[in-house]
């Protein structure tokens, strides 16, 4: 049985800015990292490899330099890495992204049975949390989102038990496999590559699949296959903050003024 981890290479978003003149994203010189949630997804897969001997395949769709993300995954201990890269895949929204990834998973399924597909809860760039549910719905398999604990994994009976973390509550859920799981950070602490796995990953091949491998209708992928498009980007406006009172010389008064403001704005009410 193989377990899949879907990972995405993303810009370190803490450094992304908008060019005020052209109103486009400034991406030059911004370092790329593996989407943090996806390192947890991979760790969850590797944990099953350690315990149950499943094989772990990592999949990413992206430009050729996304191979770097796959190298990191191999260094952490993944067995196989697939890069889905083709100009025709570019400019995809989540609908078109899940289409390509699902086609790749179907191909992998033909080679070895897939038990679970792990995704991150969301990415730190697109931030949508939609690709996981998109894949599950296309594959017509159960989706278990926001998982913070894989309680039981029983390959023989094809069952899994997980805990999901929602607003103010947890849910323990049992599901048949194959299933798609999205993970939150609390699920685990991703491992560091060991020297042997790192050395091995240097020479490990990365398989690249383009649309001649997947043969998807070009109208349904990339920019063409996307239902949404970005019509405008801009910097978030923030009302300029206000320094209240003279906190250095008159802290009591400044504190009182602040609380009065909160009361008058109904932020506080007693």
């Amino acid at each position: 049985m193989q377990v899949i981890a879907c990972i995405k290479q993303v810009p370190d978003t803490t450094q992304v800015k908008i060019d005020p003149v052209t109103n486009t994203l400034v991406r030059e010189g911004i370092p790329f990292i593996v989407n943090p949630y996806d390192t947890h997804a991979l760790e969850a897969a590797l944990d099953l490899k350690d315990k149950y001997g499943v094989s772990v395949t990592v999949v990413t769709m992206g430009p050729p330099n996304s191979a770097n993300a796959l190298k990191k995954a191999l260094a952490m201990g993944a067995d196989r890495a697939i890069l889905l890269s083709d100009r025709a895949f570019g400019g995809a929204d989540t609908l078109a992204t899940s289409k390509v990834i699902t086609a790749a998973l179907a191909k992998l399924q033909g080679e070895e049975e897939i038990g679970l597909i792990f995704c991150g809860k969301q990415t730190i760039d697109g931030d949508t949390a939609q690709v996981g549910p998109g894949i599950a719905s296309r594959m017509k398999i159960p989706q278990l989102t926001l998982v913070d604990n894989v309680e039981e994994f029983t390959p023989a009976s094809k069952k899994i038990r997980v805990r999901r973390k929602l607003e103010g509550r947890y849910e323990r859920v049992e599901s048949k496999m194959p299933a798609l799981v999205t993970v939150v950070r609390e699920i685990n602490s991703p491992r560091y590559p060991t020297v042997p796995t790192r050395l091995k990953s240097f020479n490990a091949p990365i398989e690249t699949w383009d649309n001649s491998d997947l043969k998807i209708d070009p109208e349904t992928i990339g920019l063409k296959g996307s239902a949404t498009w970005v019509s405008k980007i801009f910097s978030p406006e923030r009302e300029k903050g206000e320094i209240v009172g003279d906190g250095i010389n008159a802290p009591q008064e400044a504190a009182a003024q602040l609380i009065d403001k909160l009361l008058s704005k109904d932020v506080l009410s007693f």
């Binding site: 803490t14 690709v131 859920v173 405008k232 009302e239 903050g241 009172g245 504190a255 909160l262």
Partner: protein
């Protein structure tokens, strides 16, 4: 081709809001969405309708009418007792196929994003995530504005060639509609045929978090008082605890405070901790490193107390006090106590 799209789009009408409930408790964002849906429907000259799915949830319709729904589509069936993607997903898709709403809104909650992502894919339409602003453009299409890249940019997203236009909307952004004085009452009961045995998942248990338990989830609390290295010691956190008690707030910390052992690691805010979005975030003795700010900059209101007037935290703060926290924080607590006392008279 454009004509074909226009003709197909014209078949879709009205704004739908999925009313999210677990164990009969409605998520507040659903009512906010009815308020927002009302505005959009007015601009489109159409109706705002509530979609209510659950087991024993008929009573929720009355609330939906109070919050402004013109109609309620109700699916009441034991198979929907707990939320599971599969049956909810099928019910939603069936209803949308049948009634063809032009716009479908869901809360950007764990449940809403789980459901919306699956539904939009099945319907082969677009879905815009976590919107903070919605409007109608001159051609009658939905303009969906949302933060991306960790809140560093805003994007306006269109889905003009596909229907329905679907969005998940961030809680606590849209205004609640005023309670309707002449609520409507039209309930349209629908059934969907989903054999319970065909569903591949089972909810074993729902565990509600207790307030005040040690691993309280700071990502879903409304008031947060966070301390940083400026607190100097664990003992000094007592002044934050007192302020927090008066506000009904939870105490959190920067990584410095967590690493020093003053605050538990489940309460760390930031890139390697939790992302929080409370109504009020009070940062005390926190400088405002970028790794901290990505975890709290979306809070509705940010208040900073810091003795360094150049601390970056003031750049994101709505209100700031430059001063010694050991003087300012107790003074805030004192003032709140006074305000409470006078409110009682």
């Amino acid at each position: 081709e454009e004509k074909a799209i226009a003709e197909r789009n014209a078949q879709y009408k009205n704004v739908w809001v999925l009313v999210e409930q677990t164990e009969g408790i409605v998520a507040e964002v659903s009512w906010e969405l009815l308020g927002e849906g009302r505005k959009l429907a007015n601009k489109r000259g159409s109706e705002v309708c509530a979609l209510i799915i659950g087991a024993g949830v008929r009573n929720i319709c009355a609330d939906a009418f109070h919050y402004g729904a013109d109609k309620c589509y109700l699916i009441d069936n034991p198979v929907f007792k707990e939320y599971r993607t599969e049956p909810y997903f099928r019910a939603c898709c069936d209803m949308i196929h049948k009634h063809k709403p032009e716009i479908v809104l869901m809360g950007a909650t764990g449940l809403g994003r789980d459901l919306a992502g699956a539904v939009a894919t099945e319907l082969q339409t677009g879905l815009t995530a976590d919107c903070t602003e919605l409007d109608i453009d001159p051609k009658g299409n939905l303009m969906q504005t949302r933060p991306a890249f960790g809140g560093n940019i805003m994007a306006t997203i269109m889905c003009d060639k596909f229907r329905p236009q679907m969005s998940t909307v961030r809680p606590k952004v849209m205004q609640l509609a005023p309670i309707s004085e002449n609520p409507k009452s039209e309930i349209i009961e629908e059934t969907v045929d989903i054999p319970a045995t065909s569903i591949m998942t089972k909810v074993l248990e729902i565990i509600r978090e207790k307030k005040g338990s040690s691993d309280i989830d700071i990502s879903s609390t409304e008031f947060i008082v966070a301390g940083g290295r400026g607190m100097m010691s664990k003992e000094n956190f007592s002044i934050l605890n007192e302020l927090a008690d008066e506000l009904g707030a939870v105490v959190a910390g920067s990584r410095m405070a967590v690493d020093a052992g003053w605050v538990s690691h489940t309460r760390q805010v930031g890139q390697t901790g939790k992302t929080v979005r409370p109504v009020v975030y009070i940062a005390v003795g926190i400088s405002g490193a970028i790794q901290h700010m990505v975890g709290m900059q979306d809070s509705d209101m940010i208040i900073a107390v810091n003795k360094d007037k150049d601390a970056p935290i003031f750049e994101v703060a709505n209100y700031g006090i430059v001063g010694d926290l050991f003087e300012v924080v107790p003074a805030m607590t004192k003032k709140i106590r006074e305000a409470k006392a006078s409110a009682q008279h």
